[in-house]
């Protein structure tokens, strides 16, 4: 086994340094070393999206990413969305529309949705395609779509 390397990245806005062995998955680093368990493991194989985090603003399955490859990057997890007591508009919207049932897919779904909103993906069919990497077995996705739409409207209003 080769040695651990020291990596530094920004995690939810804070600069963090970790010593990581080469095979360590970003998912494990976030959940174990950083102690942020909001990001979930549903398959460990890139198939379900429960482990989705934003890596420099792009949604990625953290179970498929080696932590060492994240040196110098910016990572956002579900814990990094709310500002104090104020939730992100997509979080508010998901609560409001009923997009949360068992909640296990929810952190991943929310992170992908944040990326859709930030990249202004407005075409509903395009959104459905881009969300297809996040499986949800409970909701049938309908109220998740409603939440994205609602969040888009409310953040539009905020910025006017």
């Amino acid at each position: 086994m080769s040695e651990s390397s020291s990596i530094t990245f920004r995690l939810n806005g804070r600069t963090r340094t970790f010593n990581v062995p080469p095979g360590r998955r970003l998912l494990d680093l976030i959940r174990e070393e950083a102690g942020m368990t909001g990001t979930k493991e549903g398959c460990g194989a890139g198939e379900c999206g429960a482990c989705t985090v934003l890596l420099d603003g792009r949604p990625v399955p953290s179970c498929l990413i080696f932590a060492v490859s994240c040196d110098g990057q910016e990572i956002t997890t579900i814990e990094g969305l709310a500002t104090g007591a104020v939730l992100h508009p997509i979080q508010e919207a998901m609560i409001h529309t009923g997009g949360v049932q068992c909640g296990f897919c929810t952190p991943g779904v929310v992170m992908t949705s944040v990326a859709l909103l930030e990249h202004s993906v407005t075409d509903p069919d395009e959104r459905k395609r881009r969300l297809a990497g996040n499986l949800c077995r409970c909701t049938g996705y309908v109220k998740i779509f409603d939440a994205i739409e609602k969040a888009e409207q409310s953040s539009g209003e905020d910025h006017v």
Partner: protein, 764 residues
């Protein structure tokens, strides 16, 4: 926002939503304790064999391994199983299915545990197996247990048969092959066992902490009172966490008991798909007859369920399939026979709908076949045969109370479906079809399982007027915490935010049976109302003292206690504060058990359920006949729900149910080879994604009250049942063929339209 909404039937914020949306909800995988060990299991990779020996030596010496246990290390009885304890926790000699456990490992890391499990070697003598449920019932077929593979037969025998059967002007016969299904909850099986020498706590992702309590007690030979099972936040279940979690929990408990250290057992996805229970695959044969005016004369149904290698819950699943076999239709003569076959396939268990979806697909397909033969529109044919206020006799002869909303559900769903305008789709999806299907679903447990049909509730009034509630039924995503919060708030006249419902724990509530059969709200809601009634026996006199009125005149509404004449009132928290000051008992318990019912096991006649919900789904599909691809474009759903308790949660049940049923109907194929699952991953086992979702319209009918709180019925399963049948009927309508196999995968669809298709050889 939430203040202005009435709690009952509104959509106030779910009580678990904020924790889930911020990632703060702690599922089992998010819990760890100092010194905690990780469990792994060595399993059989063949389906039928005799074990000669198990060699643990290589594994024992591996680093970080703390314990390796086999059957001889079990202090209690090495048998689990909810109804028939026919399944050893750890194999002693006979292997009956892939995934049978040979040995358990506890190690300091999950990786070390799985490495050691992989180093355990077994020497086995292969035995012949049986993998086809029909063949399993033949004489001379290899036996899975004992002397017969026929586990049980259920029947319904109603009406005089002989003449009708031969004289019916129109008769159809068909044989349906309905596939199983994997639950695919997003959180795999998970539990954490924490030992305290002669007692133990297990925190588990589950639907029934009481089943786990019994399994752990039996394995460890401890009294039930020494076993505490706490239901963890549960990341989806759908029946897959009804009976199955007893197995990992008993494994973790055994390892924890043995090592004296906490043991966490998390399944990884492949293991979860490979070894956990599935929906029963079924073969359903029909012979149904109608007169030339399109009135049903008789229905003969012969259904065989593939139970797999252990009994599990197969008897109760078959019991429900048996009485659900003809849908909400008025049929004067009924003959149903439902048999359960043991095979060496993965064992089947509870799954949303409990056998009813399979027989409903068959019933609704036969209804369409008859309609086509009679040249009557399928909707009109159903209209002529639906149960109504005057013709209200179900399959088992139970008379439904008026109003019977079958026709109303049909009309509302059809109307909603007609409003749908198909958009421009890929032109290769050139065939379009519409399909309709219905269901009649007994809310709560079948008469045979009635001994389990009760719930406990505990209500604790806090000195500040807020309220703690516990019920024995569980939250797995469906919204029971919020439904119970809503019921409590409505009954006490306070805001829902003042009510906190906590997940059950076997030390805080009495055994309430499993959270299944769409009975969560019904049963636990009634128990809460009972607890509140008891609480008010103590609360109302205090309020009356403060108000200067008779206790019988006290009303609770608007966060106040009021005198019925409306002249004086006092804030609810003041009453709570006064109760605390007077040291009056502020905890009360409640209980509910469903009404006793008459049912004859031999004839299958009587009242299996205390109330029923009816539903209709209409599906519109587009089909690419060359590639065999199906897109569901629209589903209109109309549900007889009694009373909506929480609107967005109710809609969410229907939307989620429809999409899950769509997966079962179209893509979710369990590919089994000699009892081994060939596609244990989401790359090959395809559950619906956001890109597959149809437009869905949901209508609730609230004119026929059920027996739940405020007249609610149940919705979790009726939301699933008609959809797959409607989709099958729509595809057949589009292609003008009959397809009698589910799922409708591309090869199945192509083969149905082009039996000569040269690329599809070898398809069954």
């Amino acid at each position: 926002m939430s203040e202005s909404q009435p709690p009952l039937g509104g959509s106030h914020k779910r009580l678990d939503a904020e924790a889930k949306i911020t990632g703060q909800t702690r599922y089992v995988g998010d819990l760890s304790l100092p010194g905690m060990l990780h469990a792994a299991v060595a399993m059989s990779t063949t389906a039928s064999a005799r074990v000669r020996s198990i060699d643990l030596s290589a594994a024992q010496d591996m680093p970080e391994v703390e314990a390796i246990l086999t059957a001889k290390d079990i202090p209690g009885t090495n048998l689990i199983g909810v109804i028939f304890p026919d399944q050893p926790l750890l194999v002693e000699d006979r292997i009956r299915m892939v995934g049978d456990r040979l040995a358990l490992v506890a190690a300091r890391t999950p990786e070390a545990a799985w490495r050691a499990a992989g180093a355990i070697r077994s020497n086995v003598e292969p035995l012949p197996g049986v993998f086809d449920p029909i063949a399993a019932l033949d004489d001379g077929s290899p036996l899975v247990h004992g002397t017969s593979n026929l586990l049980h037969t259920y029947r319904v025998i109603r009406g005089e048969h002989e003449e009708t059967s031969s004289e019916a002007p129109v008769i159809v016969e068909a044989e349906y092959h309905i596939g199983g299904q994997e639950h695919a909850y997003l959180e795999p099986q998970a539990c954490l066992a924490i030992p305290e020498r002669d007692r133990i706590t297990v925190v588990a992702s589950c639907q029934c902490p009481f089943y786990i309590q019994r399994a752990v007690a039996r394995i460890l030979a401890l009294p039930l009172a020494a076993i505490r099972i706490e239901q963890a936040p549960t990341g989806g279940a759908f029946g897959g966490k009804e009976d199955y979690p007893s197995e990992p929990a008993a494994c973790a408990a055994l390892l924890a008991h043995h090592t004296g250290r906490p043991v966490r057992f998390l399944y990884h996805r492949e293991l979860d798909l490979q070894v956990t229970t599935k929906r029963h695959a079924m073969v359903v044969r029909h012979r149904w007859g109608a007169d030339s005016d399109g009135r049903l004369l008789f229905a003969e149904v012969d259904a065989v369920l593939d139970a797999g290698a252990y009994a599990g819950l197969s008897t109760v699943v078959a019991e429900r399939a048996n009485v659900s076999a003809i849908g909400p239709y008025d049929v004067p003569v009924v003959r149903v026979e439902t048999r359960i076959a043991l095979t060496n396939n993965l064992f089947a268990g509870a799954y949303r709908g409990f056998g009813a979806p399979q027989v409903s697909v068959a019933a609704e397909a036969t209804m369409d076949r008859l309609a086509r033969k009679l040249n009557i529109d399928p909707v009109e044919f159903r209209r002529r045969n639906l149960l109504t206020n005057r013709k209200a006799k179900t399959c088992t002869g139970q008379v439904l109370p008026a109003p019977v909303l079958a026709e109303a559900c049909l009309e509302r769903a059809v109307e909603a479906s007609q409003l749908f305008v198909a958009g421009d789709r890929n032109p290769s999806f050139r065939k379009r079809g519409t399909g309709v299907a219905m269901c009649l679903y007994g809310i709560n447990l079948h008469r045979g399982g009635q001994f389990l049909d009760r719930s406990s509730a505990v209500v604790i009034l806090q000195p500040d007027g807020s309220v703690i509630v516990r019920v024995g039924l569980t939250e797995m995503g469906q919204g029971n915490l919020t439904a119970i919060q809503t019921v409590t708030a409505a009954a006490l006249g306070i805001d829902p935010e003042q009510v906190q419902v906590w997940q059950p724990d076997t030390t805080t509530v009495a055994d309430s049976g499993p959270t299944v059969a769409s009975r969560g709200l019904h049963t636990s809601g009634r128990a809460v109302l009972d607890a509140i009634r008891h609480l008010r026996e103590r609360l109302d006199p205090v309020a009356a003292d403060l108000l200067g009125c008779d206790p019988r005149a006290v009303e609770l509404a608007g966060n106040e206690a009021r005198v019925a004449d409306g002249k004086s009132s006092i804030p609810f928290p003041k009453v709570a504060e006064e109760m605390a000051a007077r040291r009056i008992e502020s905890i009360s318990t409640g209980w509910y058990r469903s009404e006793p019912r008459e049912f004859d096991e031999e004839t299958g006649l009587g009242n299996p359920y205390s109330s029923y919900a009816i539903a209709c789904h209409v599906a519109k599909v587009a089909v690419d006949p060359d590639l065999g691809l199906v897109r569901v474009e629209h589903v209109a759903a109309a549900h007889d729900v009694g009373r909506v308790i929480h609107r967005s949660a109710a809609e969410g049940q229907v939307e989620g149910g429809i999409v899950q049923a769509m997966g079962w109907a179209l893509t979710e194929e369990l590919k089994l080879d000699k009892g081994r699952l060939l596609n244990p991953g989401f790359t090959d086992y395809l559950i619906p994604t956001s890109d597959d979702v149809p437009e869905i319209s949901v209508t609730f009918l609230e004119d026929a009250p059920g027996r739940g709180p405020f007249g609610a019925k149940g919705l979790g399963e009726p939301s699933f049942i008609p959809a797959a049948a409607a989709i099958r009927n729509a595809v057949c309508d589009a292609l003008e063929v009959e397809i009698d196999r589910l799922p409708l995968t591309p090869p199945t669809v192509v083969l149905a339209t082009d039996p000569e298709q040269p690329f599809l050889h070898g398809l069954p």
